[in-house]
């Protein structure tokens, strides 16, 4: 399939100068995008700090991906769904995931909507269509396609943005999901965030072909965009999302960016990549680039970035302090939510466990036995 939409790879060059057609977005919207991007970086910095301090267990860093996630997800409407991998939490915050829930999940405390069941950095939010996701790579891709089919059947006018990384393009889910979406004309946009690395394997080692050529293979339009350029990423996503919405045409958007930190707080990227490469990408920092542009357009005052950033940090620190004090999940939650009702064999298992827990002093009020 030949690409029919005119999509520009880059609108802002690494120096923050317009090099493509000005999308003529409103000053308010541009400033909002900047704040959302700054929040991603602030959350990232603070979560890593909490992890280093031993307060939370794990962080999948979003450092460097601010434009990729914010630019693309800003093209979504409230009724649209965002199917996530490890690093889209910042986009979810922009779309309405409360910061309190984000941080509660990092602590896995009693306020976590997922009841502390998932490891850190696995957020969800029903209200903004940000489904729970698993750590298994690529499995969310066919989910998004099936959900898009359901939306289409009910004429909901909802688009499903399905995010995944470069590594996931090798997974079953990617191929079956792309194929089903093409065959079904599902209103889905596949957001391939090519951040250069799947843990320690470079993007170029996932395939002998190109990611963007996969669109052709599955009969859908595909484009690549500079993912460190928030304007180009937004414009590309907007065009593809609207096409999916109005014509039920799925599309693939390869968002080329760079994971500046390790795979996670447990990873040491110096074991497998050169600092020179990291430095080259640091010079293309998405926030610096957008800041320069906004300043030159007269939309950001001197010291504006620092002011906004410190406000965001203060908000995050306040919330972290609150969540740190939240109660833990009751023991009884061990056996809830396996099924809609707790079946007899689980009630028995729990009650037997509770007898031992009481003897050992682990049980708290609220951990009471189930009726049998």
């Amino acid at each position: 399939m030949t690409a029919t939409l005119s999509i520009t790879r880059q609108i802002l060059d690494p120096a923050g100068k317009l090099c493509g057609t000005d999308p003529e977005l409103s000053p308010e919207f541009l400033k909002e995008l900047f704040v959302h991007m700054l929040r991603v970086r602030a959350v990232d910095e603070r979560m890593l700090k909490l992890q280093r301090a031993g307060r939370i267990g794990f962080v999948g860093s979003m450092f460097g991906l601010e434009a990729a996630m914010i630019g693309s997800a800003a093209a979504l409407e409230p009724q649209d769904w965002l199917w996530s991998g490890l690093r889209e939490g910042g986009a979810a915050l922009m779309r309405g995931l409360p910061l309190s829930e984000y941080i509660a999940q990092m602590y896995g405390n009693g306020s976590d909507t997922a009841k502390g069941r998932q490891m850190c950095n696995h957020q969800q939010h029903v209200g903004t269509h940000y489904p729970s996701w698993s750590s298994v790579i690529g499995t969310q891709i066919p989910h998004g396609v099936g959900a898009a089919y359901a939306s289409k059947l009910r004429n909901e006018n909802a688009v499903h943005a399905i995010y995944f990384g470069d590594g996931a393009t090798s997974s079953n889910g990617f191929h079956s999901g792309m194929n089903f979406a093409g065959v079904w004309n599902a209103p889905a946009v596949f957001m391939c965030v090519d951040n250069g690395w799947a843990i320690s394997v470079p993007s170029g080692h996932q395939t002998a072909g190109t990611y963007v050529s996969r669109g052709d293979a599955y009969g859908m339009e595909a484009h690549e965009v500079d993912g460190n350029d928030v304007l180009a990423t937004f414009e590309a996503a907007r065009l593809l999302v609207e096409r999916a919405r109005t014509e039920n045409k799925p599309a693939l958007l390869v968002i080329k960016t760079y994971r500046m930190a390790g795979h996670s707080s447990s990873d040491d990227p110096t074991r497998y990549r050169d600092q020179a490469e990291v430095d080259r990408w640091a010079a293309q920092d998405p926030l610096d680039r957008f800041e320069t542009y906004l300043s030159s357009a007269g939309l950001l005052e001197q010291g504006g970035r620092e002011r906004i950033y410190s406000e965001l940090i203060a908000e995050i620190d306040d919330e972290s302090n609150r969540q740190e004090r939240a109660p833990k999940m009751p023991l009884r939650s061990l056996v809830d939510d396996v099924y809609a009702d707790v079946p007899l064999h689980l009630r028995r298992q729990y009650n037997r466990f509770l007898e031992v827990s009481k003897r050992l002093g682990d049980a708290q009020p609220g951990d009471g036995a189930f009726p049998l």
């Binding site: 769904w81 976590d112 909507t113 997922a114 009841k115 069941r117 998932q118 696995h122 969800q124 029903v126 489904p131 729970s132 698993s134 298994v136 499995t139 891709i141 066919p142 989910h143 998004g144 396609v145 099936g146 959900a147 898009a148 089919y149 359901a150 939306s151 059947l153 009910r154 079953n172 889910g173 191929h175 079956s176 999901g177 194929n179 089903f180 065959v183 809830d336 939510d337 396996v338 099924y339 809609a340 079946p343 007899l344 064999h345 689980l346 028995r348």
Partner: protein, 324 residues
């Protein structure tokens, strides 16, 4: 009441569910115009349109993965896997995703999904059209695993599975598709998931079985009766969650237990039944628990009728525990 084969009862069950709830969708390989390779979905596309009953590309991973997304977004998908032997590309989606979604999301997201698939031997299908993989799935909290053995149960359990709020693996004994007939109510009804069924009563020996083994065990039980051994036959129907109380009750009644399945023995479902009884009712046992199962080998082709338990092997086990 109408007299239907087990296969016709399944078709009727799907039609009944689809008429009642327009969010019920049926899809899989060849289920549309062809009506499925066994014709289980015959007539569905005509009655309910190509939007609600349709063919998919040939990818089990994609079928189940997409079904999960549909279920998360308000639909009641009924996905067919053409043979249970082909389900393993979807194992990840079933085990990592469907089964864990409610738990990992703290109940925020659910997966009311049915995966229908024909299982078991007896059709000369060799290694890859004959397997009984229930044990793989029974080891997965969050799934329900259901196996009917009569037309009445097939329809009632299938409708219950479709209306259930959790993911159900619905294993259909393909050997019984056309070989058993029975009375089936024409209207909508359900059979509770997680209740076993006493096929026939008896006070000497209890035999637990399910699916295609039920008629074989019943035949063996009738032969045992001729020899004066009153044999109780219990059809488990839902393996997960298991009616543990029911199993223990029927085990205690006779104190002599045989478990029959065509799947391999090692870590098979019979091991769970045996352990359950050993843990909770060993003092009632008059004889060691006997298992009659498939061999711990891949499923053979020409010797399949020796691989699968038949009434002679079941009778031998009944006599063994009775005479112990």
């Amino acid at each position: 009441m109408v007299t239907l084969t087990l296969l016709q009862a399944l078709t009727d069950g799907m039609k009944t569910a689809m008429r009642k709830d327009e969010s019920v969708l049926v899809f899989g390989e060849d289920v549309g115009k062809r009506g499925g390779v066994f014709l289980t979905t015959e007539g569905l596309q005509e009655e309910f349109s190509k939007q609600r009953c349709f063919d998919t590309p040939l990818s089990e991973d994609g079928i189940v993965g997409a079904a999960i997304g549909m279920a998360m977004n308000g639909m009641r998908p009924v996905a067919e896997i053409q043979f249970q032997d082909f389900i393993f590309p979807a194992f990840d989606q079933i085990v990592s995703e469907a089964a864990k979604l409610r738990y990992r999301s703290g109940g925020q997201y659910t997966c009311p999904l049915v995966i229908r698939t024909p299982y078991g031997g007896g059709i000369r299908g060799g290694l890859y059209h004959s397997q009984s993989g229930e044990a793989y799935f029974c080891h997965t909290p969050g799934l329900k695993v259901v196996i009917p053995s009569t037309p009445h149960d097939a329809k009632g359990l299938l409708i219950a599975a479709i209306e259930d709020p959790d993911p159900v693996l619905f294993l259909e004994p393909k050997a019984l598709y056309r070989s058993v007939k029975g009375e089936v109510p024409e209207e909508h009804y359900t059979v509770d998931l997680s209740t076993l069924r006493e096929v026939q009563s008896g006070s000497d020996v209890t035999v637990f079985c399910y699916g295609a083994m039920v008629p074989i065990v019943t035949k063996a039980a009738n032969r045992a009766e001729e020899n004066g051994i009153k044999t109780c036959v219990v059809d488990l129907r839902t393996l997960l969650p298991l009616d543990e109380e029911g199993v223990l009750e029927f085990a205690k009644k006779t104190g002599r237990v045989v478990v029959v399945h065509e799947a391999p023995r090692f870590c098979g479902f019979g091991a769970e039944i045996s352990a359950l009884i050993a843990e909770n009712a060993i003092e009632y046992m008059e004889a060691p628990i006997a298992r009659v199962t498939g061999f711990d080998t891949p499923f053979p082709n020409t010797l399949e009728h020796h691989y699968m338990p038949d009434d002679r092997r079941v009778l031998d086990a009944i006599e063994h525990v009775f005479n112990y």
